[in-house]
Symmetry: C2
Subunit: 394 residues, 2 copies
């Protein structure tokens, strides 16, 4: 077996994970380019026993999870957990929706491209658009299979074709954290995919229960378990859900049962906290703990940015959070930095400071911008702040 | 949440799994149309404690498994387990190959279509062929995304275009259990995908170590853990492996860590048996146990078929098995029945006997043929044999 030392072109450079175990040397990079959501690990360490699962050799061998459900590979306990956490948080309307489970929301995004495209092969490919700055992966996912069904249509704000389209609405947005609504202004009716990966109380006030035809969620950004590859879609139209299921069948014959069992347990621990132990200190409650963590990180980060005088940050409005029952700022999973006058390339500038980030052009925006993860390890985050605060205008 | 009662068009009808818990009523179908590999469950019940895994809430949260490996989401223990079981069985050459892990071998088949197609968009789609009867899913997987990169080219034995092609060689073959080699006779060099899902000692003599550019395996048919969605490819060319990795990234950002941990443990239990306990009764050893199970089922099945006088079965050669160190017959995971003269449609005939099978036309062959799973539950299998032996020529 060959062990490759070559680096594969992946937005998830693996170095960061390892470095968290050691002190950074001045010559090593702090990698905040990826969005590996390991920041919440300290919470799960505190509830380690409660949140552990045991799986016996003879359990969950079948392809099937629940033959009575449209999503036949989904275990009943997975479905119950998904419904329960949305009931606790109140971020989406689950009534009269089908749930389709995926290997992360990425696979479900692929499934939706297939399911929302016109089935008639004589039709032109449908345009898929998203308002810039948009998640850097959408275009690659859309382009790579060179499908005759759909094609990347670019910035939704500039879309002016009188043809059917799919608009991806990411809210809060990756990379810039803004809360979003559709922007395409067309006479033709478009289809909407709401990517709600970050619509959880640690990042943003939960302003209302979203009720849309198609919404996407992922365990990665909710609980921090990116390694489990669990995502789910709420889908109103059974025909769309059926087409997604056909995609899921042909793509991977479903989703890992082990991940489902574990995700169900993780979600159960969160919900038990809110439903049974409202009187215990709020630090024991997952979203309270992780929101506090995000607030602390953002305060420290803003201090470093102000000290450096090299970058500015977006301003976010304060909104009422129906989950926390208070007015709240936003604490996005990524910082979206803009260089001050005279610095043209944020990513290159930070490379010199040995901070690896993802530049604005990858998100359909200007190179003055760059994106930094706020949800890496404590060590990474601390080192990033130290290096940022030492930045000086050249 | 809507619970759908509508049946989604899936080759895995879910009814069988449930019915295994109860006695079959005369009006209920025995579903042997799918290949849900739950037959080996009794082995895993016997080693339940040894083969169980515990996963704590804070473990395996990262997207990454091993940043030093090309397949960056693969855990080191998963890679070690894969190498170890092939070392024990001796069915494939692992030296100088890259391992790419997938959500089942289905996802890796998708990845290979992408990786083996010409990258130049001005090229015509490459033809993908397989000798009939071929696995019924290949064509659907190839067709559904309507890619400009590749297209279904039909029966490999009839392929006569002087253009590049990909030939899928499934050995032992699904549906008919035959050992196969490439069949395309072309002046143009083709690329080969060896699908070796069933090249394990419980189904077939291990005649030699296969050494090919691309080979595919799946945990489902090896150990019976279809629910885990674990498959792996051995790939000789690093450029092909890198393209597969790009597909895996854009398709699902890797593979469940929980499934990897569990698969590694399951494989460890099998290998520990062979490496440390050669003196214990062979029933304690996985492949011995499961081969015995397959022999018993095939003997019972052949008895039922002979009694009915309605079907014939393929004849398989006896070969020397380098793993078992003995000459051995084949005991395929599926029975491929052919109707005797006067019966034109095997699937319809068996529907009347309340046995649900998958007809020959789905595999690019004649309707006289139909495929039955030999690896379902004990109850399903017993009831199938009872109903078959009661079959009479009309």
């Amino acid at each position: 077996m060959v062990v490759a030392t070559t680096n594969v072109s992946s937005p998830f450079s693996p170095n960061g994970t390892k470095k968290s175990l050691s002190t950074f040397s001045p010559n090593s990079f702090v990698n905040v380019e990826k969005g590996d959501p390991v920041a919440f690990r300290s919470y799960w360490e505190k509830v380690s026993d409660k949140s552990s699962v045991e799986i016996k050799g003879e359990e969950f061998m079948s392809y099937f999870g629940d033959g009575n459900n449209l999503c036949w590979y989904m275990l009943p306990q997975m479905r119950e957990a998904i419904l329960r956490i949305h009931n606790v948080v109140g971020n989406v309307v689950t009534k009269d929706k089908f749930i389709v489970l995926g290997n992360g929301s990425t696979q479900l995004f692929n499934a939706l491209l297939y399911a929302l495209s016109p089935s008639d092969p004589s039709d032109q490919p449908i345009n898929v658009v998203a308002a810039a700055p948009y998640y850097s992966e959408y275009q690659d996912v859309i382009d790579h299979m060179q499908s005759r069904l759909f094609q990347w249509g670019g910035d939704a704000a500039l879309y002016d074709e009188n043809k059917p389209y799919i608009e991806v609405v990411t809210s809060p947005n990756n990379p810039d954290g803004t809360l979003r609504t559709p922007v395409v202004n067309s006479e033709v009716e478009g289809k909407l995919i709401y990517d709600l990966a970050y619509y959880w109380p640690q990042y943003t006030p939960i302003t209302h229960q979203i009720n849309q035809d198609v919404t996407l969620f992922t365990l990665s950004k909710c609980t921090g378990h990116g390694g489990s590859r669990i995502g789910w879609a709420f889908v109103k139209d059974i025909e769309v859900a059926k087409k997604m299921m056909r995609f899921m069948h042909l793509s991977s014959i479903g989703v890992s049962k082990e991940s489902q069992i574990r995700a169900a347990k993780i979600i159960e621990v969160i919900c038990d906290g809110y439903e049974n132990f409202k009187s215990v200190g709020s630090d024991h409650l997952f979203f309270n703990y992780t929101k506090k963590l995000m607030i602390e990180r953002w305060e420290k980060f803003k201090g470093a940015i102000e000290k450096s005088k090299v970058f500015t940050l977006p301003k976010y409005p304060t909104s009422y959070c129906h989950f926390n029952k208070e007015f709240s700022d936003q604490y996005p999973a990524f910082a979206w930095l803009k260089c001050v006058e005279g610095i043209e390339n944020g990513e290159s500038y930070l490379e010199k400071l040995k901070i690896r980030t993802r530049g604005g052009e990858r998100f359909g925006d200007d190179a003055k911008y760059t994106r930094l993860s706020m949800i890496g390890t404590d060590d990474e985050f601390a080192e990033m702040c130290t290096r940022l605060s030492n930045a000086k205008r050249e």
